[in-house]
């Protein structure tokens, strides 16, 4: 995966460099000169049903629905959009794939597309067109959606960055002028925050989005679920070191994090009960837009940082990836492709990025220049969430096994078991190894 990513990264970087060389002004929001326009002719009488994860920020759905309306006006294709919590999209998508009936397009999370690749419409032509026009897809997007390096199972939509959200005043009061950049300092910060009575906390329950910090914990110490050949190697000395570190970190968390699901840290942070957590930009967005003056005031004190670098020496970020899949059973494949194309074009995609307030980071390099990343410096850390994203099935190939292992919370449960002391790190790693081997056996 790494070689593949490096190659793609260089290709993409060259694309951006070429775009920049066209000239200031024109380069920023002009599609690349060599890109051809592509359209798909919707079938006569086509109607589309789209199932997507429900909003965490209101601006996302408002902008998305405005684009849907524009699409209907432009093509006459009626589109019905259903929203579900992201944990509920996965089972619905799985059932749809299995039964061959349901929404035409599904916006889902992580490597869902790799659970049922045969049930998805090949969108290679569309993906290549968009990639060429908008400076290339980030490597993670390709890893998720083009697992064999040839056929695109769907289109990346972006990722909700899981970064550090912190209260500047509290971090400063704990003796840190800037946010720690290493895991050692990160632990020191957590200890200092606890001593000051302003602890932090991160989810250790079965939280789809917010438990991804557990991936960072393992990767930052050199541990990984599988090696490049998909052999399960989670029970390793590196993992044990990570779990020991996690145990120390957890000892400084606010009580209750073992039960935390996705919304818990948002609520605790906005209530002023925690000073540091991991989250999308939704906490900041909620604070900025809150009708409560006290919460609004808090926004000025909120800042974001990327996760610290551990002994492994490189960034090891884990974010919630979003995909767009067209189900093969759709009666309207052309209309579906046209819908996705339309939504990914800059006239629609950029306003949607801005509407989301930075909640979703783009999968195409071109949108690095979106105003959402420069309009507020606090948004900037989220910009590269897809660019720096390491998929959950690291270091192996994504597929049924990686998707299953992630959905079964193997890594978060291992971390929770070790951190809470319910199992020793060795026992927790052995249990994770056994469970992961079950998925990777096939």
């Amino acid at each position: 995966m790494s070689d593949f990513n490096r190659r793609k990264f260089l290709e993409g970087t060259a694309g951006v460099a070429a775009a920049a060389s066209v000239g200031a002004g024109a380069a920023l929001f002009a599609p690349f000169a060599h890109a051809q326009n592509l359209t798909f002719k919707p079938e006569k009488g086509a109607k589309l049903r789209v199932l997507r994860w429900s909003r965490f920020v209101q601006g996302d759905i408002d902008a998305y629905m405005a684009n849907v309306k524009k699409f209907t006006e432009a093509t006459g294709v009626e589109v019905r959009v259903d929203n579900e919590g992201w944990e509920d999209v996965r089972p619905k998508a799985a059932v749809a794939a299995n039964t061959g009936a349901g929404p035409d397009i599904i916006l889902s999370t992580n490597d869902d597309a790799n659970l049922y690749p045969d049930k998805l419409l090949d969108v290679t032509d569309l993906a290549e067109y968009l990639g060429k026009k908008y400076g290339g897809w980030y490597p993670a997007g390709e890893t998720f959606m083009r697992p064999d390096g040839k056929k695109w199972l769907g289109l990346p939509l972006g990722a909700s960055g899981s970064l550090i959200v912190y209260r500047e005043s509290m971090v400063k009061a704990a003796g840190f002028a800037t946010f720690p950049k290493t895991t050692d300092d990160f632990l020191k910060l957590y200890k200092a925050l606890k001593e000051k009575g302003t602890p932090g906390g991160m989810a250790l329950g079965n939280a789809t989005g917010d438990s991804t910090w557990c991936n960072w914990l393992i990767w930052s110490h050199g541990g990984k679920l599988v090696d490049k050949t998909n052999k399960v190697v989670i029970d390793s000395p590196e993992t044990l070191k990570a779990l020991e570190y996690g145990k120390e970190l957890y000892a400084n968390f606010i009580p209750g994090t073992l039960s935390w699901l996705d919304p818990n840290n948002n609520k605790a942070f906005l209530d002023g009960q925690i000073s540091v957590t991991n989250n999308g930009i939704s906490i900041y967005y909620a604070a900025k837009n809150s009708p409560d003056p006290k919460v609004k005031e808090m926004a000025a004190d909120i800042n974001h940082a990327v996760f610290p670098i551990g002994p492994v020496g490189v960034p090891t970020e884990s974010h919630l990836f979003f995909n767009q899949m067209i189900m093969k059973y759709t009666k309207f494949p052309q209309a579906s492709k046209e819908f996705l194309r339309f939504m990914m074009e800059k006239e629609q995609f950029d306003p949607w990025l801005q509407g989301g307030g930075g909640y979703v980071a783009q999968p195409l390099r071109f949108y690095e220049n979106s105003a959402i990343w420069s309009s507020d410096p606090k948004n900037l850390p989220y910009r590269d969430s897809v660019k720096n994203l390491r998929p959950g099935g690291y270091d192996g190939k994504l597929g049924y096994a990686s998707a299953g292992a992630a959905a079964d919370f193997i890594i978060p449960n291992m971390v929770a078991e070790a951190a809470s002391g319910s199992k020793t790190p060795k026992e927790a790693a052995e249990r994770a190894q056994k469970r992961a081997e079950r998925y990777y056996k096939l």
């Binding site: 209750g256 039960s259 818990n264 929770a416 249990r431």
Partner: protein, 302 residues
Amino acid sequence: MTLLARFQNSRNALGFMFMLPAALLLLVFLTYPLGLGTWLGFTDAKVGRPGQWIGLENYAYLWGDAVTRLALFNTLLYTFVASVFKFILGLWLAILLNKNIRFKTFFRAVILLPYIVPTALSAIAFWWIYDSQFSIVSWALVKMGLIDHYIDFLGDPWNARISVIIANVWRGVPFVAITLLAGLQTISPSYYEASAIDGATPWQQFRHVTMPLLTPIIAVVMTFSVLFTFTDFQLIYVITRGGPLNATHLMATLSFQRAISGGALGEGAAIAIAMVPFLLACVMFSFFGLQRRAWQQGGSDK
């Protein structure tokens, strides 16, 4: 007599015809899914792809899987404790509501409220009640000076188990109470009058009049209560999603997590099918228990 006329006059043929639509429905919507689930349990089927026959491999794996064993333990504990409490509280409420108290109808209606509220909604309410940072229970106890820090309702395995059992009891008591109340109202007051004349105490009346006459209803209501509790999904899914540390995973939630979210349809089906013997035992216990009572068919106990 023509064939049609003979058919129309045949009790057996007509009975068969009338039964056919219901049998068809049962076949399509009950037998087929159960059969398919059983089949899947013997395969390595994944979401979106058919599986190969692997015999008992899923079951063999699950037998050695610590999480599945924990889920089975949780399910049995959850079902047993919740059912006992639902029975005791339900019977107590039914007896209270069967007395001539003021605003009897109002109270009978109120008692149904937990049952009327959609399960997901009541689960969300409990999720808030048990929140580690915002629990109203913890807040009240702290304000009263009874505790000095918030209770970790859902972050500690045993606390979490107890918490979800309480939520289940709250939700299930109305069903037991109202059904038993209906049973109590079928008992003729003359039994109580006669026993009172004979000098029976209230406890003796309860033991020798109420309980024997209520037993058939109790058997039915508790069978259903146990079945509902054993197969509970929504409360757990909303409140804990099986956490912390899988401490509240029931067989149903684990089956869902493995089969649908995780894509391991065969393994998930095997977990679900593994529930059937327990459920069947419960139904058979109740069924044969009732069958032995001849008075169910209009006779008297032998």
